[in-house]
């Protein structure tokens, strides 16, 4: 039986990182600054996909990441008016809800310039927020592995009357199936990296034309130095979460996405991730866990269901399930900081744009998923079959089968969405989750749960 009712989980058994509050303040300040960027004399770029913000920072621009704003609205349960505006414009609910929300924001921003009351259903405050984004001066698209993402800014370009410049970066899909291919290696990887790097050089020319100012390479190096350090601290913090019980969870790291994904590369960013790591280290040293009574360690594959972040964290904790790893955390957002040469960062940046978790063939995803499953001693995988993100969902059945066949780790699937709560059915997740935990209990009692435990070697698929 399906139901749209979401029951409130029992007492909150999560122990979220306190640094999350610091991050929330930084993010709120960032958006407030962006809303008045025009008044502060900044040129504004709208973009999607990989984290181009250090490029924009070096060019003296203000930047708006479309997905990030859609996620923010959804996390605050404020996405409705923007999505309705997108629907009125002609986009149905099967379109990526990130893009549907952000395109709705674009519609409201355009409308807001001459009629701020042209909201959809009279929720004026929410409409007001959704229409707060300052109009762009130009667009840049940097989307890898998702055809919708690659067209998204083209559509924004049309909503704004086809008058504004747009720059599209093309990313080869990393199939990973040539004889010399592997994660971060092989001719395919090398040539794709150089191809995208070349486009970043062209982007710099484009931005110089738009701003009328020479690009500040020193500023880029400085920004990337801060980002690299922040990314290293993030990786060190993630490494600490392999401890048992885990000191922090996937949900804590979800709350850290915005800072690493689009906040300026500066000392504040480094300080934030130093604080996150220190808090986790303190928890490890003092045996403090991320949830009460950790009984199961789970992997979460799928883009975040932003409407349900708090709810899902409590739902899993209620069952003693510590969600520790996921493609959206371990395999995204400057996750390979060693690739960044801070004196010449363009190649390392290009490589990270290619490392978008939707831009890999199944061999690489299989390798990465199994590796994290073994490294974090995962008991079960939870696949968030993101309704409007087929790029992420496509290989999930293959990953589930591989985890079962190679590591003896079971999986469940539930449907939800990144920014549209109507696709989430709590009973479906609850029944599948509990059934999997019961099966894990039984397998543990028999002593045959998992064929590989913590630290098992995971080889590149043959």
């Amino acid at each position: 039986m399906t139901t749209t009712t979401t029951t409130t989980p029992a007492r909150d058994q999560t122990n979220r990182l306190t640094m999350t509050r610091t991050g929330s303040k930084m993010i709120a300040d960032y958006w407030e600054d962006l809303f008045v960027a025009r008044e502060n004399g900044k040129k504004i770029v709208w973009y999607n996909g990989g984290a181009l913000n250090p490029m924009f920072q070096a060019a003296g621009l203000a930047w708006c990441h479309g997905e990030a704003f859609a996620a923010r609205l959804a996390a605050q349960q404020l996405e409705g008016p923007a999505q309705l505006a997108g629907a009125e414009y002609g986009y149905n609910s099967e379109l990526c809800s990130y893009s549907r929300t952000h395109l709705g924001c674009a519609v409201l921003t355009v409308q807001g310039s001459d009629d701020p009351q042209t909201g959809v259903v009279g929720l004026h405050d929410r409409v007001d927020l959704a229409s707060k984004l300052p109009s762009p001066d130009f667009f840049v698209n940097n989307y890898a592995g998702c055809s919708t993402g690659q067209q998204w800014d083209e559509v924004s370009f049309r909503i704004f009357g086809k008058d504004l410049p747009i720059f599209n970066i093309s990313h080869p899909f990393l199939w990973g199936n040539k004889p010399d291919a592997g994660y971060l290696r092989g001719e395919e990887w090398d040539s794709a990296s150089q191809y995208v790097r070349g486009q970043l050089v062209e982007l710099i020319d484009f931005m110089e034309t738009q701003t009328g100012e020479p690009f500040d390479y020193d500023k880029l190096n400085e920004s990337m130095t801060y980002i690299k350090r922040a990314a290293e601290l993030r990786q060190e913090g993630l490494e600490l979460c392999k401890a048992k019980p885990a000191p922090a969870t996937f949900w804590d790291w979800i709350a850290c996405i915005a800072p690493i994904n689009f906040l300026p590369g500066d000392q504040a960013l480094v300080d934030y991730f130093q604080g996150v790591k220190d808090e986790i280290q303190h928890r490890v040293d003092n045996g403090i866990s991320g949830i009460e009574n950790e009984k199961y360690r789970l992997y979460f594959d799928g883009i975040m269901n932003w409407n349900k972040l708090g709810f899902l964290s409590r739902r899993f904790a209620e069952h003693g399930a510590a969600v520790l790893a996921g493609r959206y955390i371990q395999n995204a957002f400057w996750q390979e900081p060693q690739l960044i040469d801070t004196s010449d960062p363009l190649l390392g940046m290009a490589q990270h744009y290619l490392l978008c978790p939707t831009n890999h063939g199944s061999k690489t995803l299989d390798y990465l998923t199994l590796k994290d499953t073994a490294d974090y001693d995962i008991d079960g995988l939870v696949f968030h079959a993101t309704r409007t993100c087929r790029a992420f969902t496509g290989p999930q059945r293959l990953l589930a089968k591989s985890a079962r066949d190679n590591l003896g780790v079971p999986s469940i699937f539930f449907e939800g969405d990144v920014a549209d709560a109507s696709f989430y059915k709590d009973e479906i997740l609850e029944s599948r989750l509990v059934a999997m935990l019961e099966a894990i209990d039984v397998a543990r009692e028999r002593g045959d749960h998992k064929v590989a435990g913590s630290g098992a070697e995971v080889a590149w698929p043959s």
């Binding site: 039986m1 599948r432 019961e438």
Partner: protein, 310 residues
Amino acid sequence: MTRRVLGVDLGSTTAKAVVVDEAGAILASSTVAMGAVSRAGMHRCIDEAVGRAGIEVGDVSGTISTGYGRKLVPGIQRSYTEITCHARGVAAMVPGVRLIVDIGGQDSKAITVDKDGLVVDFAMNDRCASGTGRFYEVLARAIEIELPELGPLAMRGSQDLEVSSMCATFAETEIVSLMAQDMRVEDIASSVHRAIAGRTLALVAQVGRRTPVVMTGGVARNPAAVHFLSRALDHEVLVPEQPQISGAYGAALLAMESFLRTSPPVPDVPGADFIFPRVDHTAAGHSCAGCDGHLRGKVELGAAIPLRSS
């Protein structure tokens, strides 16, 4: 004294209860059609099953519940999901089973089990009532016959009318459209059954086709549903004598196993039938099986509470 335990499956449209003895043999069962997750239906079902077993509710040594309404069943030791209970019940009903297809009122499941009858993998219908008992109800209503008549009618159909809808609501529209085209109701009925079997096959594909195959749930009483599933799977589909009670039976078996595992020999305490030992819940090796997770804190080892069973 012979122990009797109870399994209750409070599903979306029917309540099922089974009483078993210490050997796991079914003493009595009951199935009550009701409104959605009905408390009244559940109580009637439990009373019937217990009455048929010739005992009182107070004589029941333990109860485990399952189904959507499992949390509503009173006096339970704990609850399990339908997945675990159906697997356990069917494995006892049909030893050697490897694939279970359960189609209930509002959901359908494909469950693979190992040689010990334990769950290996499972898949359930998502989003809607596609491929569930609800789908058959829609069909019966549209062609104006009673549900039990549906299977025999569908078995007489011959032409494949390619009913394609995944949604029960839209399927009704499609059925009405076919009737407006004056298609034979037998062909409409068989085509809908064929379409549902196709949906079920997609569910089976998620867990992998294994044999022997057993079909359970209320829909398994429909001979056409079994026939078309068998054709879709290209393999014989077995149906237990009482396909609706497999979840409740599995719950009862789990209740008995839990009872036998946690119940020590009857102590030499005047007036006591059994004792519950106190254990340290942080003690190494302590199994939480049968515990609902609400027990907290340390209690001293070695102490015991003598209890009378009635």
